[in-house]
Amino acid sequence: MSDGGVLILAEARQGELREVSLELVSAAREVAAGVGGRVAVAVIDQQAERFANAVGADGVSEVLTVTSPTEHFEAHVWQRALEGLIERERPAIVLAGHTIDSLGFVPAVAARLGLGFAADVTAVWWAQGPRARRGAYGDKLHAELDFPGKSCTLLTVRPGIFAAAPAGSGAAAARAVEIDLDGTARTEHVEFRDVAIGDVDITKAEFLLSIGRGIEDKDNIPRFEHLAERFGATLSVSRPLVDAGWMPNARQVGQSGKTVKPRVYLALGISGAVQHLAGMRSADTIIAVNTDPEAPIFGVAHFGAVADLFEVADELERALG
C-alpha cells in the first residue's frame, strides 16, 4: 500500500542540475492534490546535498538526498537507489524525466517492483487515479492511459512540456535517505567525450534551414546547401542524415544533437519525432513543410505547408532570384 504523495526524481550530470528536474515539479502540481498533496524531490548523487537547495522549488514539501558511491550516473546504482526510495517512501506517483539516463534504469524499476508505468508522457492528471497521455504510432495519435490496480505509478515525463519551476524558490527541508548502494554498480565509467564538434556552430545561427529524411538522397544535399546559402540560412539536419554519414554530427538538431533557438527554423521533410523537437521547439518561428498532414512537426510549427519539399525548394530558389 502507498502512503500517497508524489516522488520526483531529479537529474544532474557532471555537477549540474538538469532543467527537467524543475519541470517535474510543475508536472507534480497537476496530480499532487489527488494523492494527498505531498511532493518530495529526491536527488541521487555523490554529493546529493549540493542540489538540495536548487530542487527545493515552490510546491516541494521535502527534499530527499541519496548519496551514490559513484561519481557519475550508473544505471544499476540509480536503479537500486530508486527502488529503495520507493520502498521506504511509498509514494503513489513517481515522476522522472524521459531522458537518456532514465532510459537505462527507470523501466527496470517499474518492472521489478510491478508498478504502474508509462514513458514519455506529455500530460498527467488525476481522475480517481493517475491518468497520463502519450503519443502513439510515432506521435501521430495520442493515447490516454490509466493504471488500474496499481498502488504506485511511475511516469517518465517528456522534457520541455512543463515550464520549469524557479530553482530554490521554496523552503523545503532536506533529509538524507540511507540506502546501501555499495557494490551495486555493474558498469565502469571510462570517460566523457563530445562528438558534435564541427565546422559550424548551429546553436549560434539566427536562421536555420533544416532538412530531414524527406530529402531522400545524398545527391540532393548540395541543392539545399545552395538554397541555404541563397537564403542566408545555416543548414542543419535531423538525425537520419547524420546516421547515414551524409552530414557531420555538428549539424544535427535534437536531443542527441544540438539544442537550437534561432529566430526562424525552417524544417523541410522532418517528421518531428520527439527527440528532434527536443532540440528546436523553442525557436521563435517554426515553419514546416511536409507532405504528411499528420506529421507531428505541425504540432509545434507556427506556419505549416502540406507540400512537396522539392517543389517548394525549387520555388524558393526562384523567388530568391
Binding site: A75, P107, A110, A136, L141, V190, R193, D194
Partner: protein
C-alpha cells in the same frame, strides 16, 4: 557466444488513415516493417559474431507479436540469424512495454545468452522502455542507447559508447552477460535479398504460446504497467497557420515570413 536479439514488427500509418470505432486504426492504412532500431541491433549482433571475438556464436531473434510479425523474424533470419522465436497470445493484444518485457524475459531466461540486444525504442510506440525493463526482470547488467561497442574476449568485457544528450558520449565498460539497447547509426545494417528471405523460411522458427514459456495471461496482465483508455487524433497545428496554395505561393509566403522575422 550466444546472442538474443529482441525485435519488433512496427506499424507505420499512412498519411490518410482512418480510425475505427472503438479506438483502433483501420489495418488498411497501416504498413508493417522491422523496427528501424532493430535493424541496427541485429547488425550489431551479427557483426560481433562475425568478428574474430564472437566467432561461432548463435544468434536467436525473438519477437512478441502476431502472425504478421513473422515477417520481421524472416528479415532477421535472412540477414543471418540462426533461429527465431515468436511468442503470442491473444491476451497480448495492445500489450504495454512491461508486459512485452515480461514475456521476453521468459524466453531469454530459457536461452541464457551471453548478450541480449534490443533497439533503443520502436518507431511506433516510442517508449524506449522494453529493453531496460527486460534487463530489470532478468536482473541483467545493461547499457542503454549504445552507439559503439567493442568486445574484449580475454576479459569478457564490452567497452561501449553510451549516447547522452547534446552530442555528449559516455564511454563505459560492462562485463557479460549483459543487455544493450542499440541506437541508430551504430553500423550499416546489411541488406537481405529476397532470395535470402525466401531461403530463410527453411531456417528454424518456432512459435510459442504463453504456457510454452511458463507464463499465463494472468501473470502478464499483472506485469502490464498501463491500460489504454482510448486513441485520439491530436488537434494539429492549433497554433500553426496553414500556408496553402501552389508551391510557388507557399514559397513566396515563406520568403515573406522569413524576411519579416529576420528583420524584426
Amino acid at each position: 557466444m550466444k546472442f538474443v536479439v529482441c525485435v519488433k514488427q512496427v506499424a507505420s500509418l499512412d498519411e490518410e488513415f482512418e480510425l475505427l470505432e472503438g479506438g483502433g486504426v483501420d489495418s488498411d492504412f497501416v504498413e508493417w516493417e522491422l523496427n528501424e532500431w532493430d535493424t541496427f541491433s541485429l547488425e550489431a549482433a551479427l557483426a560481433l559474431r562475425e568478428s574474430g571475438e564472437g566467432e561461432g556464436g548463435e544468434v536467436v531473434a525473438v519477437t512478441v507479436g502476431e502472425q504478421e510479425a513473422e515477417e520481421a523474424l524472416l528479415a532477421c533470419l535472412a540477414r543471418g540469424a540462426d533461429r527465431a522465436v515468436r511468442v503470442w497470445d491473444e491476451s497480448l493484444q495492445g500489450a504495454d512495454p512491461l508486459a512485452v518485457a515480461r514475456v521476453l524475459a521468459a524466453v531469454v531466461e530459457r536461452e541464457s545468452p551471453d548478450l541480449v540486444f534490443c533497439g533503443v525504442q520502436s518507431s511506433d510506440a516510442v517508449t524506449g522502455s522494453t529493453g531496460t525493463a527486460l534487463a530489470g526482470y532478468l536482473d541483467m547488467a545493461r547499457v542503454a542507447v549504445v552507439t559503439a561497442l567493442s568486445y574484449d574476449a580475454p576479459s569478457s568485457t564490452l567497452t561501449v559508447d553510451r549516447e547522452l544528450e547534446s552530442g555528449l558520449v559516455e564511454v563505459v565498460r560492462i562485463g557479460l552477460p549483459a543487455l544493450l539497447t542499440i541506437q541508430t547509426g551504430i553500423n550499416e545494417p546489411r541488406y537481405a535479398t529476397l532470395r535470402a528471405i525466401k531461403q530463410a523460411r527453411e531456417k528454424p522458427l518456432v512459435t510459442y504460446g504463453l504456457e510454452d514459456v511458463g507464463l499465463d495471461a494472468g501473470a502478464v496482465g499483472v506485469a502490464a504497467g498501463a491500460h489504454t483508455i482510448e486513441l485520439q487524433t491530436p488537434e494539429r497545428g492549433a497554433g500553426a497557420q496553414l500556408l496553402d496554395g501552389s508551391p510557388a505561393e507557399v514559397a513566396a509566403r515563406i520568403v515573406e515570413i522569413v524576411q519579416e522575422r529576420m528583420s524584426g
